[in-house]
């Protein structure tokens, strides 16, 4: 999972502003969401990101995984993530609806 390449993204004092021209929507992420966003590099799984969040913020891994998963679902609902092919080796299944 990784952000769409056509988004215009700007970090502002630890938070993030994302402009999606395809929908004319503007999104703002607080510091925690910005950190999780920054971890979406196309290689890390949800569990990988949760582990980093757990260590960075000192929270239980299970709680981190739940929160990270919820946030990533939100990113998908907002169409901010790139569609992944099933065989590109990311380890992430193509989301089905």
């Amino acid at each position: 999972m990784r952000p769409r390449l056509d988004l215009i993204v700007r970090e502002v004092q630890g938070e993030t502003v994302i402009l999606d021209r395809s929908t004319d929507q503007l999104h703002t992420l607080n510091a925690t969401a910005s950190f999780i966003w920054s971890q979406l590099d196309g290689r890390k799984t949800v569990q990988d990101v949760a582990l980093v969040v757990s260590r960075m913020f000192g929270v239980d891994v299970g709680v981190a995984e739940r929160d990270v998963s919820t946030l990533i679902d939100s990113f998908r609902d907002q169409q901010l993530l790139q569609e992944e092919d099933p065989d590109n080796g990311t380890g992430e299944p193509v989301p089905t609806k």
Binding site: V12, V17, R21, T28
Partner: protein
């Protein structure tokens, strides 16, 4: 004999308006007297207004070409004239970031009231004028991205609804009414009309909820402010990365607050309190 042309100056552009009708001239002068200038030697934009069977015909000339517009009545004439003038100035000054916002000056710093139409900007602006804030504009704030100075656009303040006659914020007798809009001439203001760019220091994002609530003014982050600024930008695509960087830079340069406005006097008091603290820093 036709009235003489009216010359205006806005964002260092010369604008000439010639009409064949003295009543139209009087209406334009009443709205734009604070923008009039004797120093216009070249018209970057020129308008000719004539009466027709169905109202008014407006012909616009600029270096970019000509266009013809029409209006049914004086209210629509003012509306289309100003809308066209602003759009053409945006094209002639693409270096400026035009915001749909009111702008005022407190001590030596400019502050913005940003919000959607009908959200209370102009009413709050009028309230702040009556508490000593100098006037730059009630709805248009072009910002220089080099020095973050706001260029004034001090046309007559336009209200969609007037405070009641017994209110301390009642409008002066000289107020003009065209259709649903009231235009308060700048000559009647109890404060100075700003004619030169002023450095921006504070941004208030205004949302009117109800006159019955206690207003609140809450500081917000630069990211939140940038998003709200972008939503009120008029020419974002004239700037790099679709104008997002400019909105962020403006927000980072200033302190920003979200205002949930209520009764006008209480809202003004809250805003003035924040301005006093900002000035002290």
């Amino acid at each position: 004999m036709f009235p003489s042309p009216i010359h205006l100056r806005f964002v260092d552009l010369g604008i000439e308006i010639q009409s064949s009708c003295p009543d139209v001239d009087a209406l334009i002068v009443a709205n734009y007297s604070a923008l009039q200038s004797d120093e216009v030697t070249r018209a970057d934009l020129a308008y000719e207004i004539s009466e027709s069977e169905r109202g008014f015909i407006v012909t616009r000339s600029s270096t970019r070409g000509t266009a013809v517009l029409s209006a049914r009545d004086p209210s629509e004439l003012l509306f289309i004239l100003e809308k066209d003038l602003v759009v053409e100035c945006e094209k002639l000054r693409p270096d400026l970031y035009f915001l749909h916002a009111a702008a005022l000056r407190f001590c030596d710093m400019a502050f913005l009231l940003v919000g959607e139409s009908g959200g209370g900007k102009s009413t709050t602006c009028w309230g702040l004028i009556n508490h000593g804030c100098d006037y730059l504009s009630d709805e248009l704030a072009p910002i220089s991205l080099q020095d973050f100075k706001i260029h004034p656009f001090p046309h007559a303040l336009c209200l969609k609804s007037e405070p009641p006659p017994q209110s301390p914020y009642r409008v002066p007798q000289e107020t003009l009414r065209t259709g649903p809009t009231s235009h308060i001439p700048t000559e009647t203001f109890p404060v100075s009309i700003v004619r030169s760019p002023v450095p921006l220091a504070v941004i208030f994002h205004v949302q009117h909820l109800s006159t019955d609530i206690t207003p609140s003014v809450i500081e917000i982050s630069a990211a939140q402010s940038a998003a709200l600024l972008y939503a009120n930008a008029l020419n974002p695509l004239s700037h790099a990365r679709d104008g997002l960087d400019a909105a962020v830079d403006i927000a980072r340069h200033s302190r920003s607050f979200q205002v949930f406005s209520g009764a006008l006097d209480l809202t003004v008091a809250e805003i003035m309190s924040k301005l006093d603290k900002a000035r002290a820093l």
